[in-house]
């Protein structure tokens, strides 16, 4: 494995053993004596190379294996097969030198002490990561300033809003200035402003410290804003690895056309929009997916035949592109 890469995986795979039981009371009684176990492949043999300082987005539907992959790269769980190297270390060995190089930010999981103000937890982290006092103060001031939470450091974590808590979690994860940052849904549940603040923060963090970032997110805005490269997982298997624009272009050969009418339209007009995936936003507004080569012709036709008051064309959002792949992975082949 090469030193050029901050993250490297070869045939990394994970299976979980689960059991299912029949529903209801009888199912519970039966499960006391007999359980049917089965192995579920959460991640099929997976290869990945991420260069130092690169930001990569890991995409996939729920259950695609993104978080499992993150957990293995962070050394939390042990792979069933294959090997990984992160920052030059094998994660599953959980060496302290490895832990000092990485951070795992989990949007849905609190790592700070719930009943204490964040500053108390940070003080403990300062000792755990052996950060000198002056350096600790400087880093904390910088991180808290960037995330606009300097005035909240003395308040119990449980009394903060979701967005404020998330920012405190991010500070906790970055105080030791990790080389590799694994971001698992860092903006989940946050409002638009908080999402934008956190995106901007990570963009700047990466610029300032050259950190390698692997990001999973359900918000395509996160991925589009931060990741020039994406890896797409479908049902535990890698289906795409490359520039985000190529993926968008490959499936984005359609344009979005929005028509606004000067009156409410009967839905019978759907025949006119056949094959264009009409999506009615209101009784007098519809969105269509139009092949690029037919855009001119169709615009002219709709303007001629329908009471169009206004129209607008735009690129199909990346979110929709990925949604289409999730629904139909064969689009990639």
């Amino acid at each position: 494995m090469s030193d050029d890469f901050a993250i490297e995986c070869r045939g990394l795979a994970k299976k979980f053993r689960t059991y299912s039981r029949q529903e209801g009371l009888w199912g519970s009684v039966r499960a006391l004596f007999r359980r049917e176990y089965r192995d579920v492949a959460a991640l099929a043999p997976f290869d990945l190379e991420v260069r130092r300082g690169e930001i990569v987005g890991l995409l996939g539907a729920n259950g695609a294996g993104k978080t499992t992959c993150m957990k293995m790269l962070a050394g939390i769980i042990v792979p069933t097969a294959g090997e990984a190297r992160v920052g030059g270390h094998i994660p599953e060995r959980r060496e302290n030198a490895f832990k000092r190089k990485i951070a795992l930010v989990m949007g849905q999981k609190a790592q700070l002490w719930w009943d204490l103000p964040a500053i108390d937890s940070y003080r403990l982290l300062k000792e755990i990561y052996e950060i000198p006092e002056t350096e600790f103060r400087a880093r904390l001031d910088q991180l808290a300033g960037l995330l606009q939470v300097s005035k909240l450091l003395g308040i119990q974590i449980r009394r903060l809003s979701l967005g404020e808590r998330m920012k405190m979690e991010i500070i906790a994860c970055l105080l030791h200035r990790p080389e590799v940052v694994l971001l698992d849904e860092p903006t989940i549940g946050l409002d638009i402003n908080a999402q934008e603040t956190i995106r901007e923060f990570f963009r700047q963090y990466q610029r300032d410290f050259g950190a390698t970032i692997l990001l999973t997110s359900h918000y395509m805005a996160d991925v589009e804003a931060l990741c020039p490269r994406v890896v797409l997982l479908v049902e535990g298997a890698k289906r795409y690895d490359g520039p985000i624009r190529v993926l968008a272009d490959r499936l984005g050969h359609k344009k979005r056309l929005t028509l606004r009418f000067d009156r409410e339209m009967p839905r019978g007009n759907d025949g006119l929009f056949a094959g264009l995936d009409p999506e009615w936003k209101s009784a007098n507004e519809v969105e269509l997916s139009v092949p690029r080569e037919r855009l001119k012709e169709l615009c002219a036709r709709f303007l001629r035949e329908l009471p169009v008051q206004d129209f607008q064309t735009s690129e199909v959002p990346f979110e929709k592109v990925v949604g289409s792949i999730m629904e139909n992975p064969d689009l990639l082949t």
């Binding site: 957990k71 050394g75 030198a97 832990k99 009943d115 300062k126 000792e127 755990i128 119990q156």
Partner: protein
């Protein structure tokens, strides 16, 4: 090495701070922990012997039984510390131990420091209770200049370590078992009985006394209580120190083995 101690001390402080965060609960807990068990014992055993003035049970007078029960109750407070170790199993089940796996310090170290923090708080409460009883009654005879006293203290220290390690190991079983509440309850009931909590060990049959010599339990409650209230040396009970130390070592090794095996099974479910 200095740095390791600084980290441990920071973890101890954070636990004390956590306990004090809810001040009314903290103050109430201190009062309950320090006084209620002692007051209950005084009223209960005074009532038992009041109706049979001058009578003895297995060689125990009313006063000596009361002293035994009071000292035992105090020592139990230094051993059965309510702390985060009780949450190890739920932390495993809900994937909350993940944070410890990411820190360059072991979960055992952090949890132990939290235990020490809780022990300091609970122990301070217990000492307040002892001071109150000593100030207003002569129900708790003590001979701090005798070797018995210091050996009893060493025994209580080791008993605390043993109790903590045992709870930690039972909590780790959550890697394999989904619900452990029954194990904890069974262990506590059995351990208290075998420790001589309700009935002193010397009132049991000879075979039971012989068997309990090699178990860790009587050294948690019975032996230190007897030692601390006796002005005469009781060398037959001093062997509890090496026996408990051996149990602590054994439990520590079991803990390391179970932890390593368990981590291979860990799925971090819930995150």
């Amino acid at each position: 090495m200095t740095h390791v101690f600084a980290t441990w001390w920071a973890a101890v402080r954070i636990e004390i701070g956590r306990l004090m965060e809810y001040r009314w609960n903290f103050l109430f807990r201190m009062a309950v922990v320090s006084l209620v068990p002692l007051v209950v014992k005084i009223y209960l055993w005074s009532a038992v012997f009041a109706s049979t003035a001058g009578a003895q049970i297995g060689g125990y007078t009313g006063d000596s039984m009361l002293a035994y029960q009071l000292w035992g109750a105090v020592f139990i407070l230094f051993v059965e510390v309510r702390t985060t170790v009780d949450n190890v199993s739920t932390d495993i089940r809900h994937g909350r131990i993940t944070r410890y796996l990411l820190f360059p310090i072991s979960m055992f170290e952090i949890t132990t420091c939290q235990y020490v923090g809780s022990l300091l708080v609970q122990g301070a409460g217990a000492l307040v209770g002892v001071a109150a009883v000593l100030a207003f009654t002569n129900a708790m005879p003590v001979y701090p200049l005798s070797s018995n006293f210091w050996i009893a203290l060493a025994m209580v220290g080791l008993a605390s370590v043993f109790w903590y390690l045992t709870h930690f190991v039972v909590g780790l079983l959550a890697f394999w078992l989904e619900e452990l509440w029954t194990f904890f309850v069974l262990f506590q009931v059995a351990a208290r009985f075998l420790a001589g909590n309700p009935i002193p060990i010397d009132l049991f049959p000879a075979w039971f006394r012989t068997a309990s010599l090699y178990l860790p339990f009587q050294w948690i409650f019975y032996a230190p209580a007897r030692l601390v209230m006796s002005p005469e040396p009781m060398p037959e009970l001093w062997q509890g120190v090496p026996i408990l130390a051996a149990w602590c070592l054994a439990m520590f090794l079991v803990m390391r083995f179970v932890w390593r095996r368990g981590l291979k099974m860990y799925t971090a479910a819930g995150i």
